[in-house]
């Protein structure tokens, strides 16, 4: 490992933190934009962790938000129903962070369980099983009245803030990057490139596939917990199939296997969807056409198709930015 290059990403993140904080304190950046940044960072965690399963290890998970749901409900139940934490009490921060981690751990355990079918299933069959698991998880939340059933888990305290979310996103990217660049990561990549060949050269494919699911689910659980404590609600519909597809779009639009791509796409697509709000309104005002918010998603879908048609390997392809890379490999 090349230690000299280690802090590059850290410096970039610290700079980002300072810039955002300064702009926010000076009220150049309003609460709306800060919220979008927070949301983008949560998507960074979701996208990079899904990338570990789909992009790096070459599996196909369609139920990623199911793991996020586990994290959201576990951490939300801990802070809201069991510990009854209050945002105004500064001593609550530590139990909150521990609750988030607990959510990640339970999600990781679920991921570990779901990783097992992946030993026998390939490609689209695996996709459908992960989709099924995600939907089963959602159905379970829908039917447990203790966590609100279809009403959702309400009144979650708003602990998630820019600092917490940024640190979590930073750690996620660094841990996943280090994992990829380690011998474990090489083993995962070899499964993606050719599973049979990997097995023949002695890679324990079983172990690495389950490992990818476990790690991926852990970080998804963290992201789910942070999201629940940002919007103060955990609701079954937030963790269904359609939401998983949103994250899927991010990793493929960013470039399969590229963490840089996932980060760019998480920010890019979140901001694009908001930018289109303003764009459509400006267009309507300028031309007098009777177009409203209902056209926003039409344009979004068209742009997505064009991105894939003209950059069909995603924004970054398989490349990694020098800022993120720790060691130089091709």
């Amino acid at each position: 490992m090349n230690v000299r290059k280690l802090p590059r990403f850290l410096i970039a993140v610290v700079l980002f933190y300072i810039v955002v904080e300064v702009l926010y304190r000076t009220e150049i950046l309003n609460g709306y934009l800060l919220h979008i940044i927070n949301l983008s960072l949560i998507y960074v965690i979701l996208a990079t962790s899904l990338n570990l399963i789909n992009g790096i290890t070459g599996q196909f998970s369609l139920g990623h938000m199911g793991f996020a749901g586990v994290g959201a409900y576990v951490s939300g139940s801990l802070t809201t129903l069991i510990l009854k934490l209050s945002v105004t009490n500064p001593a609550s921060m530590l139990p909150f962070l521990l609750s988030i981690i607990a959510g990640g751990v339970v999600a990781a355990f679920v991921g570990f369980l779901i990783g097992f079918p992946s030993l026998r299933l390939k490609g689209d069959y695996l996709a459908i099983v992960t989709l099924g698991f995600g939907e089963i998880i959602r159905t379970i939340f829908n039917n447990i009245d203790a966590v609100g059933g279809p009403r959702g888990l309400l009144g979650i305290p708003k602990f998630s803030n820019f600092t917490v979310i940024l640190v979590a996103a930073f750690l996620t990217v660094v841990i996943i990057r280090n994992l990829i660049e380690s011998s474990h990561g090489r083993a995962m990549l070899s499964i993606r490139e050719n599973e049979l060949a990997a097995e023949l050269v002695g890679v324990n494919t079983t172990r690495y596939k389950v490992m990818a699911f476990t790690f991926g689910a852990f970080f998804a659980g963290i992201a789910g917990g942070l999201l629940a404590h940002l919007i103060q609600l955990a609701h079954p519909t937030q963790f269904g199939f359609i939401k998983s597809v949103e994250v899927l779009i991010m990793i493929y639009a960013g470039g399969v296997g590229s963490l840089t791509g996932s980060i760019l796409a998480a920010f890019g697509l979140t901001f694009l969807s908001e930018g289109l709000r303003l764009g459509i309104r400006a267009l309507a005002d300028a031309t007098g056409l009777p177009i409203g918010g209902e056209w926003r998603m039409v344009v979004y879908a068209l742009l997505l198709i064009f991105i894939m048609l003209f950059r069909n390997e995603g924004l970054m392809g398989m490349r990694e930015s020098r800022i993120i890379k720790n060691v130089e490999v091709d």
Partner: protein, 370 residues
């Protein structure tokens, strides 16, 4: 030179009047599967704003400007638009949104920022309990379920009932649960209590099971789109008894989808279009002229919610959050759904009407006071 001065004066005037517009945030789902409900609500809101502006504005000649945002019926999206309207657009009040799960995300944001909000259609009791800036224009879950059960037991003389509801929708589940509670309290028997997954179109599995219990009446607190199908399939399977439901039934589409199957159907609603009050007749007439369709319950509630908010801003004579909140609390106004006052939890105190479907028309049956 004169011309230039004139243009400059005009620009200043326009700019000044523009600056004076009172910005009101509107929120509802206009894309996604709940879009049809969001669009009705939006239409109602727009109509109320246009009416007030045509009458000369809210106060001091200042007009209302509606900034409407789409929440897709998604809680995460709700958090975004609430932040946008409050932080970016600096609205003075918010009218929104349709679904309780999204209003529950918006309410804490409104409360923290001190921006009063009124939800047109979020029936979950918890929404207004978030804080003193949060109001609603509709009934809460327990009320309609209880009224429905009383009506089924006392007026329809039903002694056994079954309920079918949407598992993934808190509104329909809430109504069904409260119906069951009240019906059993009255001494009736609930022979089946069946949920169905959201978005499904085939309810025959549940209905076949329900009919084996031979209920006198089936309670269907779904939205009109599902009610039409459920009624049709229940009749197809041979059920002849009355069907009872909630305000989700109120749409001209109900009879179109359900046809004769929804005859002998009764539902609790906010108003009857037969109501002779001028505001009701005006609303129905203008809505038809403007949007080419009969208004549904969501349109009426969107209209009412906006009307109540604008009336409060007028009485406050100010755009300050606290002043508008106090004015809202003191509301006493006649709108489409009757005379509205708020109770201590900022829920409207208003009576319900029971509507019967007769020969494809909605016929007023009776009024129930809370």
């Amino acid at each position: 030179m004169k011309k230039v001065l004139f243009v400059m004066a005009l620009v200043v005037l326009v700019a000044a009047s523009y600056a004076q517009d009172i910005k009101i945030g509107g929120i509802g789902p206009v894309t996604g599967e709940a879009a049809t409900f969001g669009i009705s609500t939006k239409n109602g809101m727009t109509m109320a704003v246009d009416e007030w502006n045509a009458k000369g504005g809210i106060f001091g000649g200042r007009k209302a400007k509606l900034i409407f945002e789409d929440d897709k019926g998604d809680p995460s999206e709700g958090a975004i638009v609430w932040n946008k309207l409050i932080q970016q657009d600096n609205v003075v009040a918010i009218v929104g949104t349709v679904m309780s799960k999204v209003s529950l995300v918006g309410a804490p944001i409104s409360q923290a920022a001190g921006i009063p909000m009124i939800s047109p259609t979020s029936t979950n009791e918890k929404v207004t309990l978030v804080g003193d800036y949060i109001f609603r224009a509709c009934f809460i879950d327990p009320f309609q379920g209880t009224v429905g059960a009383n009506f089924a037991f006392n007026d329809l003389k039903a002694r056994s009932a079954a309920a079918i509801f949407d598992l993934g929708n808190d509104y329909t589940k809430g109504l069904a649960e409260n119906f069951k509670k009240q019906f059993e309290k009255l001494g009736g028997k609930v022979v089946a209590f069946e949920g169905h997954p959201t978005g499904t179109t085939d309810f025959k599995a549940q209905l076949t099971k329900i009919l084996q219990g031979k209920p006198d009446v089936i309670y269907i607190p779904d939205y009109y789109n599902d009610v039409g199908l459920i009624a049709k399939q229940a009749r197809e399977l041979g059920f002849k008894g009355p069907l009872v439901g909630g305000d989700g039934w109120d749409s001209p589409e109900l009879v179109k989808i359900g046809g004769t199957a929804v005859e002998n159907g009764f539902f609790t609603n906010h108003y009857s279009s037969e109501d002779k009050r001028a505001i009701v007749q005006d609303f129905v007439k203008k809505y038809k002229a403007k949007f080419g369709a009969e208004p549904d319950a969501l349109a009426a509630l969107g209209y009412d919610a906006m009307y109540i908010m604008l009336d409060a801003i007028k009485r406050a004579g100010s755009t300050k959050g606290a002043a508008i909140r106090d004015a809202l609390k003191a509301t006493d106004i006649n709108v489409v759904s009757g005379r509205i006052k708020f109770d201590e939890n900022r829920n409207p105190i208003k009576s319900a009407v029971i509507i019967e479907i007769k020969n494809g028309k909605q016929v007023y049956r009776t009024t129930v006071n809370p």
